[in-house]
C-alpha cells in the first residue's frame, strides 16, 4: 500500500477521517471520502494513468472532470463491469478496483508501447490507404483487434434503471457561479425551478478556486445558496445529473446517477441511474467553459496538465500535482492557478506567457517574486514517461517563428498549460442556436438561438466570477419574467472583478523531430491536420473524420478549438469562417441501461397471452412468439421429440378430432347501413354477394395490389359483419379500417370495433368433430344439411353465447367456436373431457402449419412475399366478376402485374418422396443451371397423411409448368423435383365439406 506522498497536509473538500482502500492495475492505494479515483491516484504519485489509442504513448491526467482525455479506465468486473469511464468522474469508494485500458499488462508497463516506433506508418487515415494497396483484408483483423479501448461486459446488467418526466418553468443547467445565481433569481421570482449539475457537490469550478464571493470564501457562499434553493418549495436540485441532450420542442434529457455506497460502490435503493425527460418553459444554460491545452512538441507527456485542473486538484482535493511547476499560458486565468499552487508549497519555477505584454497579472506576479517570461512559447517537453524539463524560447514578432535567441531550459515536473477557454455550447447548438467567433474572448460564443433558451456566464464567453454572477442572475430573472413570475428577487451576488484577457495562440512553431498533439485520446497531431489539408480535405467535417480528431470518448472537449485554430492557420482563413462540426447528443457518455429503463428482459417485448395460456403451460405447451402472442408450437409429452409430438398431433387431427386455440385470430365487427359497401372496397373478393349467415374466404390488398392479409368474412346480418384477419395482422387491418373511414370515405355510414381479445376461439377439427360438438349441448343443428361448410350460426352453448363458423385451416371437418373470452377455458376443458374417448387432442402451431401445408392452403407472408398479387396465387379469375373499385384494384392492371413470368403459387414434389425440401431453397431449371433462380420453396414438411413429403413454393410461370422437372438448390446441395398442384391432401375438399 503506497503512502499518499503528494497529499497536502491540510485543506481540500476531502474527509481525512474516512480513508478508503482501492486498487488500480492491481496495485493497492489509499484515498479519502471526497476523492475521485483521479485525485486519489495523483495523491499517491501515480503519473501514468493510460496509454494513447494508436501509439500507446504513456499518458497522465490532463483535466479534472468530464473534459479528461487520458484517464479512461475500466471499473469493476463481471456483471458490475463499467468500460471506458473516466477516472476523474469516479467517486472513490472502499474496495474500488480499476484497470487502465488499451495496454497490457498495465499502463505503467505496456508491451504494446512498441507501437510508438511504428508511428510513421500510422499517420491519419492510414487504413484508408490500405483500401487501395495492398489489401484492407490483410490488415483488417489486426486493426480491429487493436482498435477500441476497454473490454465490454459479457453478462447482463443486473442494475435497475428508472425513467421520470418533469415539467418546470425554468431549467438551469450547471450549478457553478452563474447557474446558482440564475437559480436563486428564478426561485426568488416565484417560478418553478429545476437546477441540475453533473457533479456530486454544487458550485462547479468554484470548489476548485481560492475565490471570494460577497466577501466570504466561495464555497461558503455555495453552501448558503444551496440551502436557500433546497428550502424553496417549488425548486428541485439534482446533483450527479448530466443534461446530455437538447431535443425537439424544448425537451432536455438528463441522466441522474445515484450516489455510490461508500462501503462497496453498490448503488443505494437499487436504482443505479435515472433518465429524466424535462419539458421546461425556459432554459438557462450555465454550462461553463473548458480550458484548452497549448499545442507544442511533446505536449502529451505525463505531467502536462490544464492549469485550472492543477488548481482544482490542489484546492478541492488537497493534492500536490507536482513539486516544481512551470505555468505556460496565453491568458490571465492561469496566473490564479500559479498562485494557488505557490501558496500550497509548490516551487513556482516560472510563468511563461506567449503574450508580449500580458498586463497587470504579470506585474503582480513579478512583484511577488515569480520569474515571468513574456513573449515566450514552449518549444518541447523533455522526458518521455514524465516531465523532466520544459524548453522555452522567445517568439518572433508574428508568433509564427522563433526569434534567434537560444532556448531556455526550465527544470520542472509539472507543466500547467492554458490556451484560453472554450465555452460549453453543446446544448445550445443542439437546440438550434448559432455560434459566432468573438475575437476578444478568442472563443465561439452563442449567437442567435431559440427564444426559450439563454446562455449565461462562461458558456456565453464571460469568464470572470463577477461576470458570471451578474450574468446568471439576469438570465434567471429574465426567464422567470417570461413565464410570468415577477416577484422581487433582490440584487445579484457580488464578487470582485478580475481580468480575463486572452490572446489567440494556435501552436508553437515547429520543433524538429517531435510531434505536437491536438487530440490526446485519438492520438491526432498537427502533422495529421497538415496531411489532411495537403490531401485537399477542406471542410471541418471531412478533416474531423479523416484525422479522427474530436471523435473519441471526450468528443474533442480539449481539442476541437485547437484543431479549428490550427486549420484556420493552415488555410489562411479566420476561425469564424470555418464553422464547426455538428454537436450531437450525448454530451457525455450515457449508460445504455439508462436509455432502456424498465423495458428490459420480460418487458422488452411483452407477449400477449390467450385465455387458455395457463392450461397450455400446465400441459406441456412449448411456447414461441407468433405475431406477438405467446402460443404453443407443440405439446411435449414425456420423452417425445418435437417431430414425434407434431406427428402425433397431426394424426389426431386427421383421424380423430383436434382442438386448436385460435383466440389470437383477428376479429373486427363492422356494422352499419354501408357495411357491405365498405368491406367490398377492402376485399379483393366480392362481398356484396355474401348472404346473411354465410362465410367467405377473402384476401385484402394494399394499393400496390399486394396481398397483405387473408381470412374469412362472416355476414351475421344485412348490416353486420365479422371480419376475421390473421393473428399478426389484426391491429394493422383494424388501423387500416379506421384510416379509410376517417380520412378517405368519411361519408360512409359504418362503425368498426376490434373485438379480437373479447372473444376466445377454439377450432374443433377432424373426422369426429361433429360427434364431439353434438355432445356439447347447444340450440344449434349441427347436421351437414342444416349447417353446411362456409356458414355461421349463433346460439347458446351450455348457456354461453357463441358464434360458430364452419371454416378450417386444417382441411378437415371443422367448427370454429367463438365464445366470450372469459368462457374459453371452460369450453376447452369441457371439450377435452367430452371427447376423451374419441381421441381428442390439442394441437400446436407446428402441427397446424403442416396440416394446412398438406392442404395447399396459403399462409400470407410465408407463401406470399411483398409482391404477390391475387392472380399469382390462383385467384385471378375473380377479378372480372367484380365491377367495383377496391383498394389495390388499379395496380392489378399495371404492366408488371400482367407479366407472363411472375412467381406463382404451386406445389413442389421432390423426386425422392423421403426428402423434405428446405424452405427457402431455390428452384432452378436443371442441375448446374446458370440462368438464376426461378423461385423458391415456401413451405415444406413430411406427411403421413399424404404418404410422402409435401412442399409449396413460388415459381416463375409455375401454373404453366405443371409436371415440369426442375431442381431445388440450397447451400451447395440440390435435389430433382417436379412442379405440381399445391393441393396435396384431399384436393376436392370432400373431408372439408362433410
Amino acid at each position: 500500500m503506497s503512502a499518499q506522498l503528494f497529499r497536502l497536509p491540510s485543506g481540500g473538500r476531502i474527509n481525512r477521517s474516512r480513508p478508503l482502500s482501492f486498487t488500480f492495475d492491481g496495485t493497492r492505494y489509499v484515498g479519502f471520502v471526497g476523492d475521485t479515483l483521479a485525485s486519489a491516484l495523483l495523491a499517491s504519485g501515480v503519473r501514468i494513468v493510460g496509454r494513447s489509442f494508436k501509439l500507446h504513448r504513456p499518458r497522465g491526467l490532463v483535466g479534472v472532470w468530464c473534459e479528461e482525455p487520458n484517464a479512461v479506465v475500466q471499473l469493476g468486473e463481471g456483471a458490475k463491469l463499467v468500460s471506458n469511464i473516466k477516472a476523474t468522474q469516479i467517486e472513490l469508494f472502499d474496495g474500488l478496483h480499476a484497470r487502465s485500458v488499451n495496454c497490457w499488462p498495465s499502463a505503467h508497463f505496456d508491451l504494446f508501447g512498441v507501437a510508438q516506433f511504428l508511428s510513421r506508418f500510422m499517420p491519419a487515415g492510414f487504413y484508408y490507404k490500405t483500401f487501395l494497396w495492398p489489401s484492407w483484408g490483410w490488415f483488417e483483423p489486426l486493426i480491429r483487434r487493436a482498435a477500441g479501448l476497454g473490454i465490454a461486459p459479457t453478462v447482463p446488467d443486473p442494475d435497475r434503471y428508472e425513467e421520470r418526466y418533469e415539467h418546470c418553468d425554468v431549467l438551469v443547467v450547471g450549478a457553478g457561479a452563474a447557474g446558482l445565481s440564475a437559480a436563486l433569481a428564478a426561485t426568488r421570482s416565484g417560478s418553478r425551478v429545476l437546477l441540475v449539475d453533473d457533479r456530486g457537490v454544487l458550485g462547479g469550478s468554484l470548489q476548485g478556486e481560492d475565490a471570494l464571493i460577497e466577501d466570504r470564501a466561495a464555497h461558503d457562499w455555495v453552501t448558503d445558496a444551496e440551502a436557500e434553493l433546497r428550502a424553496g418549495p417549488r425548486t428541485r436540485v439534482l446533483t450527479r445529473t448530466t443534461a446530455f441532450g437538447f431535443y425537439d420542442h424544448g425537451l432536455v434529457a438528463l441522466c441522474e446517477r445515484t450516489a455510490p455506497a461508500l462501503t462497496d460502490g453498490s448503488t443505494l435503493g437499487a436504482v443505479r441511474e435515472r433518465l429524466w425527460q424535462v419539458r421546461a418553459r425556459q432554459v438557462v444554460l450555465t454550462t461553463g467553459a473548458i480550458e484548452r491545452p497549448l499545442v507544442f512538441a511533446n505536449n502529451d507527456v505525463p505531467g502536462v496538465m490544464l492549469a485550472s485542473a492543477a488548481m482544482s486538484y490542489a484546492v478541492q482535493y488537497a493534492v500536490r500535482p507536482g513539486e516544481r511547476v512551470v505555468v505556460v499560458t496565453s491568458c490571465d486565468s492561469a496566473y490564479e492557478a500559479a498562485e494557488a499552487l505557490r501558496v500550497r508549497g509548490a516551487a513556482l519555477v516560472a510563468i511563461v506567457d506567449t503574450r508580449v505584454e500580458p498586463g497587470s497579472v504579470a506585474v503582480a506576479a513579478k512583484t511577488a517574486g515569480t520569474q515571468v517570461l513574456t513573449g515566450h512559447a514552449p518549444v518541447r517537453v523533455l522526458g518521455s514517461r514524465a516531465v523532466q524539463a520544459l524548453e522555452v524560447r522567445p517568439l518572433a514578432d508574428d508568433g509564427r517563428a522563433w526569434r534567434s535567441d537560444p532556448v531556455t531550459r526550465l527544470e520542472c515536473d509539472l507543466v500547467c498549460v492554458s490556451g484560453g477557454w472554450t465555452p460549453t455550447v453543446h446544448l445550445f447548438s443542439q437546440a438550434g442556436g448559432r455560434l459566432r467567433y468573438a475575437s476578444d474572448a478568442v472563443a465561439l460564443v452563442p449567437d442567435a438561438g431559440p427564444s426559450t433558451v439563454q446562455c449565461a456566464g462562461a458558456s456565453a464567453g464571460r469568464f470572470s466570477i463577477h461576470q458570471c454572477l451578474r450574468d446568471g442572475f439576469a438570465a434567471g430573472r429574465e426567464a422567470a419574467q417570461r413565464v410570468g413570475a415577477v416577484a422581487d428577487c433582490g440584487r445579484e451576488p457580488l464578487a470582485a472583478g478580475a481580468s480575463t484577457q486572452v490572446s489567440p495562440f494556435w501552436g508553437s512553431p515547429r520543433a524538429r523531430g517531435a510531434k505536437a498533439w491536438i487530440d490526446f485520446q485519438n492520438d491526432v497531431t498537427t502533422a495529421d491536420l497538415e496531411l489532411a489539408v495537403r490531401e485537399n480535405l477542406c471542410s471541418v467535417e471531412h478533416v474531423k473524420r479523416y484525422t479522427t480528431t474530436g471523435m473519441a470518448v471526450d468528443q474533442g472537449k480539449t481539442s476541437n478549438m485547437n484543431a479549428l485554430g490550427v486549420l484556420a492557420k493552415l488555410n489562411g482563413v479566420e476561425i469564424g469562417r470555418l464553422g464547426t462540426t455538428t454537436f450531437r447528443p450525448p454530451y457525455d457518455p450515457v449508460t445504455l441501461g439508462t436509455l432502456a429503463g424498465r423495458r428490459v428482459r420480460e418487458f422488452y417485448h411483452p407477449l400477449r397471452r390467450t385465455a387458455i395460456d395457463a392450461w397450455h403451460a400446465a400441459h406441456g405447451g412449448v411456447f414461441e412468439d407468433f405475431g406477438g402472442w405467446r402460443r404453443p408450437a407443440w405439446y411435449t409429452r414425456s420423452g417425445d421429440t418435437r417431430e414425434a409430438s407434431t406427428r402425433n398431433e397431426k394424426r389426431a387431427a386427421r383421424d380423430a378430432v383436434s382442438l386448436f386455440d385460435g383466440s389470437p385470430l383477428g376479429k373486427i365487427e363492422v356494422r352499419g347501413p354501408d357495411a357491405a359497401i365498405f368491406l367490398n372496397r377492402l376485399y379483393y373478393n366480392n362481398i356484396r354477394t355474401l348472404g346473411v349467415g354465410r362465410v367467405r374466404y377473402g384476401v385484402m390488398l394494399n394499393e400496390h395490389g399486394t396481398i397483405i392479409d387473408d381470412g374469412v368474412c362472416i355476414r351475421l346480418a344485412e348490416d353486420h359483419f365479422l371480419v376475421s384477419t390473421t393473428s399478426g395482422g389484426a391491429s394493422r387491418i383494424f388501423a387500416t379500417f379506421e384510416d379509410l373511414i376517417q380520412c378517405e370515405w368519411p361519408d360512409l355510414r359504418v362503425l368498426v370495433t376490434n373485438v379480437t381479445s373479447a372473444w376466445g376461439n377454439v377450432a374443433v377439427a377432424g373426422p369426429r368433430a361433429r360427434e364431439l360438438m353434438q355432445r356439447l349441448g347447444m340450440d344449434i343443428d349441427l347436421s351437414s344439411g342444416a349447417f353446411p361448410h362456409f356458414t355461421v350460426r349463433c346460439g347458446l352453448v351450455q348457456g354461453v353465447p357463441a358464434r360458430i363458423a364452419r371454416v378450417g385451416f386444417t382441411g378437415e371437418l371443422s367448427f370454429e367456436v367463438n365464445v366470450p373470452a372469459g368462457c374459453t377455458l371452460a369450453l376447452w376443458e369441457t371439450l377435452l373431457k367430452l371427447g376423451s374417448d374419441l381421441g381428442v387432442a390439442p394441437i400446436g402451431i407446428d402441427a397446424l402449419q403442416e396440416l394446412r401445408t398438406e392442404k395447399g392452403f396459403l399462409h400470407v407472408g410465408t407463401d406470399t412475399d411483398g409482391c404477390t398479387l391475387p392472380a399469382d396465387v390462383g385467384m385471378g379469375d375473380m377479378l372480372a366478376k367484380k365491377g367495383d373499385d377496391f383498394i389495390g384494384r388499379r395496380s392489378l392492371t399495371r404492366a408488371d402485374a400482367l407479366r407472363e413470368d411472375r412467381l406463382q403459387f404451386v406445389g413442389v414434389a421432390a423426386e425422392d418422396p423421403q426428402v423434405v425440401l428446405p424452405v427457402g431453397a431455390h428452384v432452378v431449371p436443371h442441375h448446374k443451371s446458370r440462368s438464376g433462380s426461378h423461385g423458391y420453396v415456401t413451405s415444406s414438411c413430411a406427411s403421413e397423411a399424404v404418404g410422402r413429403s409435401v412442399a409449396l413454393g413460388l415459381v416463375r410461370a409455375g401454373r404453366q409448368r405443371l409436371n415440369e422437372t426442375i431442381h431445388v438448390y440450397a447451400s451447395g446441395r440440390d435435389w430433382p423435383a417436379r412442379i405440381v398442384s399445391p393441393a396435396w391432401y384431399d384436393p376436392n375438399g370432400e373431408r372439408l365439406r362433410a
Binding site: H249, E703, D739, Q742, E744, R890
Partner: protein, 93 residues
C-alpha cells in the same frame, strides 16, 4: 421529441402518435379511367418540401383519431393542427 396538440386530447408527446404522409392525397378513380402516370403519382410521388408541409398524424395511443398538422420540415416547428373534417389549412409557399 416532438409535441403535438391533438385537436381532441390536447398536447401530448410524439411516441403517442404515428405519421400518415402528406395531405391532401386524392385517390384517383374509377380505376379504368386512371392513367399509369396518375396512379404512379398517387403511389409514389410526394412533394417532400423543405419548409412547411401539410401532413396527417394519428393519435395512436390516445383517441385513435387522424388529424392534420402543418409542420416545418427544417425546424420541426408545428404551425397548426386541425381535424380531418376542417378545411385544409393554408400553407404559404
Amino acid at each position: 421529441m416532438l409535441q403535438f396538440e391533438c385537436p381532441y386530447c390536447g398536447r401530448r408527446d410524439e411516441p403517442e402518435f404515428r405519421w400518415g404522409g402528406e395531405v391532401p392525397l386524392v385517390r384517383p378513380g374509377p380505376p379504368q379511367l386512371v392513367s399509369e402516370g396518375d396512379w404512379a403519382a398517387y403511389l409514389f410521388f410526394r412533394d417532400n418540401p423543405k419548409g412547411l408541409v401539410r401532413e396527417r398524424w394519428l393519435h395512436a395511443l390516445g383517441c385513435r383519431q387522424w388529424f392534420v398538422v402543418v409542420r416545418n420540415t427544417v425546424t420541426h416547428e408545428i404551425c397548426s393542427t386541425s381535424r380531418i373534417s376542417d378545411p385544409t389549412p393554408e400553407v404559404r409557399a
